[in-house]
């Protein structure tokens, strides 16, 4: 990949990458850090990476980085989740989109990740399997469970108020 193609990757994928991490971590600062680290790693391997595979490479690196952060911040994440549970009980949100967003935040990390890669980034099951180091069957199960969980979540009439 050339320097020009690298910069093209920044234009094409930085927003999506940032959104993907932000949606998972809900931390702008951390998401920004991960995006910077990820592109730093791409730049270090710029001559070995093909432009066609750069997007998958970026998401895989970012995903692994994010998993590390989640593990390190486990306690913090758990505390946050506690708050979201209460937000749901209080019914503080309105509309399907907001309900889906809150439902998404409540999903287990793997389910949320694969669903975001599928719906936001349009990756195939195979590509998601590669990024998240899962089998295709696991990806399908996670996506199915995520959709079922969201269905249950938005199916609650209180949520849709």
């Amino acid at each position: 990949m050339t320097e020009q193609q690298y910069n093209q990757c920044v234009d094409l994928y930085a927003d999506g990458l940032y959104r993907f991490i932000l949606k998972n971590l809900r931390d702008e600062f951390e998401a920004g850090n991960i995006v910077q680290n990820t592109f730093e790693k791409l730049w270090m391997k710029v001559s070995e990476t093909r432009f066609e595979t750069a997007k998958s490479y970026l998401f895989k690196i970012a995903y692994n980085n994010m998993i590390d952060v989640i593990r390190q911040n486990k306690r913090y994440v758990q505390i946050e989740e506690g708050f979201h549970d209460e937000a749901v009980e209080m019914g503080e949100y309105k509309g399907l989109k907001e309900a889906l967003n809150i439902g998404l935040e409540r999903l287990p990390e793997k389910q949320r990740t694969v669903l975001l890669l599928r719906d936001y980034e349009g990756y195939s099951y195979e590509e998601i399997a590669e990024i998240a180091s899962l089998s295709m069957e696991q990806v399908k199960v996670y996506i199915y469970r995520a959709r079922m969980a969201l269905k249950e979540f938005i199916g609650n009439p209180e949520v849709l108020l």
Partner: protein, 264 residues
Amino acid sequence: MKELNDRELLLLAYLDGDLDAAGKQRAEALMAEDAAFTHEYRLLTGTRLEPETIIYTDKHKLKRTAKVNKSPLRFVIPATAVAACLALLVLLYNPGTKTGSSATGLVTPGDKEITYSNAPGTKEIAAPKEAKIINNPAKINTQEKHIQTPVKTQEPTEAETIVDNRIEPEMLVAKRAEINIELPELYTLTEPVYTEPIIIAAPGKKGFREWYANAEKKVNNFMGYLQKPKINIRRTGDNGQQRLVIRLKADKYDVEREVLLSVK
């Protein structure tokens, strides 16, 4: 992990548009005869996420340009090396001689003539025509001085200063930040000590994460007098500033404070 059955796989693939023509026909046939399948499908279509437009504003920081060394010092090292080589060669070829006034050149490797000094006891021979003068050390030294001078006195521009002062997590190591939480709503319950700033010194190399965990612990201690308090600390930052958003929820209280971290 329990695998999906055929029906679930079909439903998921149909929903995700991941079926070939035959599979799609099969799913549509099933929908026509199975109301439960259709119902399930309709409910699940509501779970498709619409991508949000979120912009990463620091894209310019990620962009790269080819490494072209524009530093004025880029000439200094090679020039110094050449000068040193020349001096060494002159010394080797003319041991014990003083620098002559007529011969300051140097032959390239392969030339047979090596004597061009007019030191006593040596015969002065004109440099051969094919001999090439590579450089003059005196000129290199002049260049070096000329280039180095502005570098030493150069002040950083405003833009460079901002970049240098970016607050990266690792740069917080061994620095201190103060968090001062004031909760007027709780004054009736607090003692004076609680209104004092909490000083958090960043511990060792592990940097911000460890520092952050420590901060959370101290805030927890700070709020310890409350029954089952829940502390939520969110770190956020932009434009080089870092803030902690601290939310305290206990009993009937639900208070959020945003604290700018001052780095000392």
